[in-house]
Symmetry: C2
Subunit: 346 residues, 2 copies
DNA sequence: TTGAAAGCGATACCAT
DNA sequence: ATGGTATCGCTTTCAA
């Protein structure tokens, strides 16, 4: 069964079904989209023929002639470490009910790629586009606006919104991270992890934390960051550098939980007591964060909720609902890695 | 900018560009696909018009008239916990070079859903389909075969293959898990975690382990499993049950690392020494597995490689290459949770 | 309840 | 180098 057969092989079309049953294409089409406008007996024969020939409708043709295309473009910045995988997961199952298909693109935090991929996705005439973030290259904004379809920006709500957004206020997350550390008595904060030029969310969190530190009259946050993907190894390496160059630091804000895992490893290797001597807070609530030791204090974004609300927003917008931006809550999960005093929580 | 404008809004077409520049659609089309067959000056004006109007080609139309559709259907069984996210990631970036777009579907281990989703994906006339596993409902196999396009089955190679497969031999993985435990001196094995009726890979691993246990003359493997998604909480719960009902067990094979995280937690709560009294091995090599304590012995599948090879196989098959199944290696990563004697490895 | 015919927006072949 | 025209498979009026 090679590709060479492609020209010879005749994939069944509506017309071939029609011919076989002895009706017009039209009737077959209606048997599919509006079954009750076709005689029961005829409908039965049509269905039988479709089943027998393994007929699969050609939605390229359908989308071209009809009004809607039933594709939803989903643009993420990464799929590593579940960061957005579960958003995509929930989003997708929400769209499934309406037979909307997800077309996926991954920019890997590269703005040129983002322009290219958005263009590419729009070329499939999607019914809507869901995209991570609210900070895009101007061309992306222009293209998305010009497309005239609903655009849902996910994950972040802190900025100019094209149409509708479902996300979190990242500055307040950073502020909460710093405030928690300060409340636990830490005073010399560091920020460790990947901090890509185009990860505006991470930058917003860092700025939120910086503002909180300044407000508390503490020295400014020390940064040990890299442009690469976050990972335990990166966290470990950066933390070693940090400890050597800035021994006065007594608390580390990690840009993601996996980075924090590496930071914990480095600290333990060097015999630093956690949380006594030094505290560590992460971001993202990785599934393992309650299982490392000490267990990791972190921020838990409600990814399921973002995915679900995005699906709902898409459906609403497609059905002429008005744009409506939603700020989604997150939660500070206090665990052992920062808890010095007797606190609340798990 | 509402959807109501949709009828009024005129998305630019080849024809509108052509009219604006004063040439035929044909010329504009060639300016895109074969630029050197169009006068430089004219091409410049055409490009300018496209840029100005934010023209995005309609690939539904292109796919309908042309031979190929540039869509690759990707069907996974889950997106949770990175199990397949990084395969999708690598696969996608491999396809990007050829401007192939990924259309994603997630069956969540539901065979009815699988039939529905495969049908749905085929309706977009993809150039190829990549799908997790080699065990599918008969209807899925029938549809995929009838489509006449390249089908790449991923992750598993242990069974009937439709066209081309890129995956691992899961039975040998299970055998290696058991063999390792036995070599470390464990004798009463248990299998803990999610074991869905439709997760044939997990079943193959379990059977591989059972065969190894039988071959070693040891008592058969005790099972504590559930149908739900694997998670630390599930692992913790099942392990507590296991310890109460089968106290003689001295080694646990977990169906995934996240389940193992929970198992470790349960064991520590009960004061069981790991690996002295009881050993734990996982599957999947989660990014946190080297960071929990004790660090987790596990199997590391080469997900990047599977994604990359799948992309290559798709491109090869599209270009008339022959079907070619590849068995991808995995690695036993020995860490603290099973190492009783002085072993090799990290 | 059913059918005929005109698009949808591109591509591809054949002329010019 | 450029244009005319049929075509892809379906949806959507409009008639019958």
């Amino acid at each position: 069964m090679g590709i060479a057969d492609k020209e010879t092989r005749n994939v069944p079309t509506l017309a071939s079904i029609a011919e076989r049953v002895g009706v017009s294409v039209n009737t077959v089409s209606r048997a599919l989209r509006a079954p009750n406008t076709v005689r029961v007996e005829l409908r039965r024969r049509i269905n039988a023929a479709m089943e027998e020939l393994n007929y699969v409708p050609n939605r390229l043709a359908g989308g071209l002639s009809g009004t809607r295309s039933d594709i939803v473009g989903v643009v993420v910045t990464s799929l590593y470490y579940s960061e957005f995988a579960s958003i995509v997961d929930t989003l997708q199952s929400g769209l499934l009910e309406q037979d909307l298909q997800v077309m996926l693109a991954n920019t890997r935090y590269n703005p040129d790629q983002e322009v290219r991929l958005v263009r590419s996705i729009l070329s499939w005439r999607p019914a809507a586009v869901a995209i991570i973030g609210v900070d895009h290259p101007p061309k992306v904004v222009e293209l998305l606006k010009a497309s005239g379809i609903p655009i849902i920006e996910m994950w972040d709500v802190g900025g100019e919104i094209i149409d509708t957004a479902v996300g979190m206020d990242h500055a307040s997350i950073g502020a909460a991270q710093a405030a928690h550390l300060i409340a636990e008595g830490y005073a010399r904060l560091a920020f460790v992890g990947s901090l890509r030029e185009n990860d505006r969310r991470a930058q917003k969190r860092l700025r939120g934390a910086e503002a909180a530190v300044v407000a508390a009259g503490l020295p400014e946050i020390v940064r040990f960051t890299a442009q690469q993907n976050g990972s335990p190894d990166l966290g470990e390496r950066l933390t070693h550098e940090l400890l050597e160059q800035r021994p006065e630091v007594d608390a580390i804000v990690c840009n993601s939980d996996v980075v924090a895992f590496g930071a914990l490893r480095a600290l333990k290797r060097r015999g630093r007591r956690i949380p006594g001597e030094i505290g560590v807070i992460g971001f993202g609530d990785n599934e393992a964060s309650s299982c490392v030791s000490p267990s990791l204090t972190t921020i838990r974004p409600d990814r399921e909720r973002i995915g679900k609300l995005t699906a709902e927003a898409i459906l609403a917008r497609i059905n002429d609902g008005a744009p409506k931006t939603t700020v989604v809550d997150w939660e500070l999960i206090i665990r052992e890695s920062t808890r010095r005093r007797d606190s609340q929580n798990q």
